[in-house]
Symmetry: C5
């Protein structure tokens, strides 16, 4: 999984049937200190992540398994981060 920050939302009317009723967020990958790294990704969210929150994103096939067979989801918010702790030497 990777660490990210919710920076926005995205909407589509015309879409694959398996994408219906899914909330899609724009996520910016970040370091544990909060700096932006890499390109934003679009992830489905079922747990209510809000603008600016730090989240954990799972990608690829593991992100799809929770959904119906016809939902072509390759990234999902799996947790909203309460806290993280990194060793002193970093």
């Amino acid at each position: 999984m990777i660490l990210g920050k919710v920076i926005g939302s995205i909407w589509c009317t015309q879409k694959e049937d398996g994408m219906k009723q899914l909330k899609l967020l724009i996520i910016e990958p970040i370091t544990w200190e909060g700096g932006s790294i890499g390109q934003p990704i679009i992830a489905a969210d079922r747990i209510g992540a809000g603008q600016g929150e730090r989240v954990i994103i799972s990608r690829g096939s593991p992100a799809r398994t929770m959904f119906n067979k016809d939902a072509p989801i390759d990234a999902v918010v799996v947790g909203i981060v309460d806290s993280l702790e990194v060793g002193e030497e970093h």
Copy 2:
């Protein structure tokens, strides 16, 4: 998923059986402000995305699940973007 823009089409006569009757688009990954990022990818499209439109692309195994077992599709257009909203600080 990633954000992209339809920039062209591609055709093959000789192909794997599972690729028959599929429309293949050339997609340029873009930022939410529209700038080009990374190398173009080729994605299957079943929802009628047109030249120049912004689309959401799903990749990998989740892109294949909607198709028959013998369709080796690793990228698909899953939505045509109506609008997106990114927080002010970005």
Copy 3:
């Protein structure tokens, strides 16, 4: 999927059983204008792609589904390109 060019072939005597009787090509990822991008990959070919031809490559799990359960194939030639068309502004 990505666009590539067939630049060579590769042979192994000692291999996993699932790799037997497979033709393996060396593919150079290219832009639509033909320029080389990124590192070559090795892909299985069942449709007879020839040296120098432009091909479409599918990767990951979708590349394996067409083969037997014991064939550890993660890249396959899915089409030989006849033509492609990219919008004027690119």
Copy 4:
């Protein structure tokens, strides 16, 4: 798989049901000489890896197969490294 070092931990209260009771570690990818390479990833750990230990990380669908169908895990600690040996010319 890749080589990494455990550099921290991360906690979420609000999460997908399949993520419950999983210990999540922050892993820094490293070279065999211990230098940091690439961005940290978040991996599930069931074998008790400790802060500062070198571990092997498996990613993608293979990381999920050991878990329940509803656990969207895309990275897991699969071994704690005892030793490694690299040829002299490297």
Copy 5:
């Protein structure tokens, strides 16, 4: 698949059950001319690849399918290279 060279071995006592009795090699991705490219990966080997040999590596879900459901393998040696041939213009 990608081309690599066996540069070492790695051992773990504490590991996921599905990793038992697997030989793990350290593989350096190389170009067809033998130059090092990218970061080393750790791959399972069942075909007896030796130090310094050129091998073909398959990654992701296709690398896992040959193993038991509980083996979280995301990279495997699928062939030991006898020879490869690349067109003159490269």
